[in-house]
């Protein structure tokens, strides 16, 4: 009825000018999306083309790097290093970040909460090398040597604001009626938070944590003077350790073609790891939302 009345003013067909504006704006949007998407696609294609041969080289996944000039070798040291450094960093950052996020959402409508939010935002804006300096001064200088642990701590601090903000956002989106339903049954606030609100927001919290991990895995600057790099396969977190991003950084700068190829392959592996993490996060969220 209402629709009919609107149409009745200017006949049944849309005025020409509105059709034109519609087309124009639609076209602009497609253009903007392309401008944003094309570089990403080109980059992925480049990494794939240049990285695949190196990845298919025998020993890439199973061997440590060979000395410069010796053909062959792999990046086992870096694979283990990235997984271990990011793993330990996540073990440190996820629980702390999630707890701060819970605090901000459920108890943080006050000055304390605002201060924490402000500090977290400042940290989000810091260049990532600053976190490397943090790891260096706090851990490397006090223990007197480079170590994977110092890198994990630097990455944990880098991940913290991402995780706590994602957690807070996910929790704030949980409708208040759920909190009231729990409290109306006589449940204490902390139980409602942990047993109802957090499970309801788990998808968002896990996604935030995985995105933070993906970001940490790709960081190079915080590792330069913390993990430092190590051509030996090292699993002891107190020792210097390699990482995929460090392999890319170092090997890209040497004149040996096999090492450059290795750098491309390490780049492809890193992209694949990050993409896999993101896809897993999405699948997981979809599953628990059903």
């Amino acid at each position: 009825m209402a629709f009919h009345r609107v149409g009745a003013g200017g006949g049944m067909s849309l005025p020409l000018i509105r059709t034109l504006v519609d087309r124009l704006v639609g076209g602009l949007i497609v253009l903007c999306v392309s401008v944003a998407a094309i570089p990403v696609l080109v980059l992925l294609l480049f990494v794939l083309i240049n990285g695949l041969p190196g990845m298919l080289t025998p020993g890439f996944f199973t061997d440590p790097p060979y000395p410069q000039g010796v053909p062959g070798g792999g990046v086992l040291n870096a694979i283990i290093g990235t997984l271990e450094i990011v793993g330990i960093g996540s073990l440190l950052a996820v629980p702390v970040g999630a707890l701060i996020g819970i605090f901000l959402s459920e108890y943080g409508r006050n000055q304390v909460g605002n201060t924490v939010r402000f500090i977290s935002d400042v940290f989000t804006g810091l260049p990532s090398i600053a976190f490397g300096i943090f790891g260096y001064t706090v851990v490397v200088l006090t223990t007197h040597h480079f170590s994977a642990l110092s890198a994990s701590i630097a990455l944990a601090v880098l991940m913290l604001p991402v995780i706590l903000r994602a957690t807070e956002t996910a929790l704030v989106l949980v409708p208040n009626s759920l909190r009231e339903a729990g409290l109306a049954l006589g449940a204490p606030r902390w139980r409602v938070t942990l047993e109802i609100i957090v499970p309801a927001a788990l998808g968002g919290i896990v996604t935030g944590a995985l995105l933070a991990m993906a970001r940490a895995a790709g960081e190079t600057a915080p590792l330069l003077f913390t993990a430092f790099g190590n051509d030996i396969v090292q699993t002891n977190p107190w020792q210097p350790m390699g990482a995929l991003s460090l392999t890319i950084f170092r090997n890209a700068l040497v004149p040996y073609p096999n090492l450059q190829q290795q750098a491309w392959a390490a780049g492809l592996l890193l992209v694949a790891l990050v993409a896999a993490t993101n896809i897993l996060a999405r699948i997981y969220v979809r599953r628990i939302q059903r």
Partner: protein, 188 residues
């Protein structure tokens, strides 16, 4: 304003047919404010024990607001203020020394709109007793009883452990968090 006026004039203690009627809950001269907005003007209501009392009024006249005062749900909304007295078994619910958690365990509340927890059907029904620390056997029993009382048992008994979300969209969903486990209940 018409609405609040009707609250003032129409809410009065129900006529006591039974002279010995036991008053379970007695709200006296309750004023309620959302910030500067006064939603309740001197509202009084006596509720008898073991009787169903219905509160009727036009939309927005303050029924929900009034009911929420009875178990201090308004504490959760910043900037609200209630004055007057709400006596539950003689104790003023509005006094600052009231243990609100205990109060809410005694004054159950069903909301205007169903709001299932994102948990299984079983966990939804069991959450109240679970909070009270009942044993698994007791909870199993009360879940079955509650679902039988509401006529849902046959429909849901095979999927108690599955998410309540889909179930709750069906038309027969109003009976979650049954008030039977509380000594008195309010249904908004």
């Amino acid at each position: 304003m018409i609405a609040t006026a009707s609250m003032q004039t129409k809410v009065a203690p129900p006529p006591l047919r039974d002279v010995d009627a036991e008053i379970k809950l007695d709200a006296r001269h309750v004023d309620f404010f959302y910030g500067d907005f006064q939603a309740l003007h001197d509202a009084s209501l006596a509720v008898q024990a073991r009787k169903i009392t219905a509160l009727i009024g036009p939309s927005g006249c303050g029924k929900t607001t009034f009911l929420r005062v009875f178990n201090r749900m308004h504490d959760l909304v910043p900037g609200t203020r209630a004055s007057g007295e709400v006596l539950l078994d003689g104790h003023n619910v509005l006094s600052p020394d009231t243990d609100v958690i205990n109060l809410r365990r005694q004054v159950g509340m069903l909301f205007q709109r169903a709001n299932p927890f994102p948990k299984s059907i079983y966990d939804n029904v069991a959450y109240g007793p679970h909070i009270l620390g009942w044993s698994k056997i007791q909870i199993d029993q009360v879940v079955e009883e509650s679902l039988k009382d509401t006529g849902l048992w046959d429909e849901v008994k095979d999927r108690l452990r599955r998410s309540a979300r889909r179930w709750i969209r069906s038309p027969r969903c109003a009976s979650r968090n049954s008030c039977k486990n509380s000594r008195s209940g309010i249904r908004s």
